[in-house]
Symmetry: C2
Subunit: 327 residues, 2 copies
DNA sequence: CTGAAAGCGCTTACAG
DNA sequence: CTGAAAGCGCTTACAG
């Protein structure tokens, strides 16, 4: 066990000033030159840093809440990494809360972060419910949603519509006529709804309207089952467009088991551009969003809000087409 | 902007008791039945929850620091998910700090978590330096290392030696004689050193001693370059054993580009058992550690330490062999 | 610019 | 069991 940690009082005593002065030093407020030197010496002597949780009466906490639905996805870690770096660079500390997809807990997390007096909150969003809206109305901390559009509030979202359309046009341009979609529920407005709308629009724009659909969730297992069904049935589609890369992996697995070649027997597309997708045989044709930029834009936006600066209500993030070889 | 959030004083006032009594209610201390009812009513009326950061003079903070070297790996998200769930279930809140592999920042994070008065700290470890040891000596909070053995302290580690040996024996048993290792630096004691020792021991146990080595880091890019070199040179190995699945992916990529078939022309093994590894063509032969269990053991151990209960200094976590088809 | 005082929202001995 | 008081480690008006 170590000796007791130094507090602001110890520093003040050693520097021969009041703790108010030490506090000002710590917060870069104006301070006379000789006081500055004395405090500096004492701070270095004790290797003192303030306990951020003890700033109970400060107007700023320098903490930003980050609420996420899972750690274990291909996108979240990249988002967290970028956001963490950006925030620390600006002198803020992120406070991560994992909700494991529990929307009720997500709402309660907003509440508790607000109570902890964070300066703002970023939500890596899956669904925005009335309970979310009700909670927001009760809060002081500004909130920015990432990944789902929030009407009436602030959000940063992928340009799913444009990206989907580009992909749809590309697929149709390669001559496929009978298409299938392995897609997630429309309850997910960004991925389930808008992204699919884009794909269908792109396909239709090039004359492809024969499109069947199978509903899946985000797991590999569900995708695999649906793919098996889609590929075994009569009148098999020529191409399967998938809501995510992981879902496309399910098609790869099913195709291999059924002895179907990609893309000769069945073409496949994903959405995400995961690192592993280029390692598949053949590499997956997909779309990659610039999630790092999205994360930083988000963090920047929440800081602006907390400083009462104006921000755009909805900011769109661009995408990149990755040709691969599965189409 | 919302009305001011209720504090313990508001609750006390409404319940007609002192805030001490409310505090006791919140912390499940003994309290008379009628006081209990009154406080309960007031707490529910305000939907009150205590601000955990305001417990400055409490002996327990109910917070556990979790220090990690990256969010973006195949293992960390699984560790964080399991640990988060375990800790919350026990009434603790994890405080995550991402060091991005910066060991100096890792040491400083230990210090600042200690200052924040967390009840304990888990470090998802890559390297344990003298600076770590020096810092630990200055701290009050107990620390548990996950993934790297900490002599003289508490750690939870994979049984890399046994797992490596099992894999080496298996490979040698399949008849390969000329082996190669794509491995990370021995500075990493768990993966770089012990895991490799196990592999070599297993190979040697079955008579395979012709083993060359290429040093790589944990990135796909480095693995790909090294694999290209290993496979292009004269006297190509028959099998490449890789320190991780991701490194094995680099071999897949290189082999495809060189027109080499797996496993006919070159066999490959990984270490990790990532979800995507079974999707490769052919599925990767690998080892999977039960990281979820390891994470929970870790969390459990740090809670025990904070309660001054006895714990084992070093706890080993088991593994599972995944045959795949790449050998 | 600086210090004494009050306060942030809690917890904790200590009397009663 | 309970309340008044003191305290946790900071920040912040407010005099001077």
């Amino acid at each position: 066990m170590a000796e007791q940690r130094a507090t602001i009082n110890d520093v003040a005593k050693r520097a021969g000033v009041s703790k108010s002065t030490v506090s000002r030093y710590l917060n870069n407020k104006s301070i006379r030159e000789d006081s500055y030197a004395k405090v500096k010496e004492a701070v270095e002597y004790y290797n003192f840093k303030a306990n951020p949780f003890a700033r109970l009466s400060a107007k700023q906490s320098n903490m930003i809440g980050v609420v996420l639905p899972t750690f274990d996805s291909t996108v979240t870690p990249r988002v967290l990494t970028a956001m963490d770096k950006y925030l620390r660079g600006k002198g803020y500390s992120p406070l991560f809360i994992n909700t494991e997809g529990d929307l009720d807990f997500e709402v309660r997390s907003l509440e508790s972060l607000d109570r902890m007096r964070v300066d703002g909150i970023v939500v890596v969003a899956s669904f925005i419910t009335p309970a979310h809206r009700a909670q927001l109305a009760r809060m002081n901390a500004p909130v920015v949603f990432l990944g789902q559009r929030f009407e009436g509030g602030v959000s940063v979202v992928n340009d799913d519509l444009a990206a989907g359309e580009a992909l749809g046009l590309y697929v149709a341009g390669r001559g496929y006529r009978k298409a299938g979609c392995l897609w997630v529920s429309e309850r997910d407005e960004a991925v389930g709804l808008r992204r699919k709308q884009g794909v269908l629009k792109g396909l239709a724009g090039a004359g492809v309207t024969d499109v069947r659909s199978w509903e899946v969730d985000f797991t590999l297992a569900a995708a695999y089952r649906a793919a098996k069904q889609a590929l075994s049935g009569p009148d098999r589609p020529e191409v399967l467009l998938c809501a995510t890369d992981r879902i496309a992996y399910g098609v790869y697995k099913a195709a291999r088991e059924l002895g179907l070649r990609i893309p000769e027997d069945i073409a496949v597309t994903g959405f995400g551009g995961y690192e592993t997708s280029e390692l598949m045989t053949p590499p997956l044709t997909t779309i990659r969003f610039d999630v790092e930029t999205a994360a930083c834009v988000c963090a920047d936006t929440v800081l602006k809000l907390s400083a009462a600066e104006p921000v755009d209500q909805t900011q769109l993030v661009g995408y990149q087409f990755i040709p691969g070889g599965s189409v």
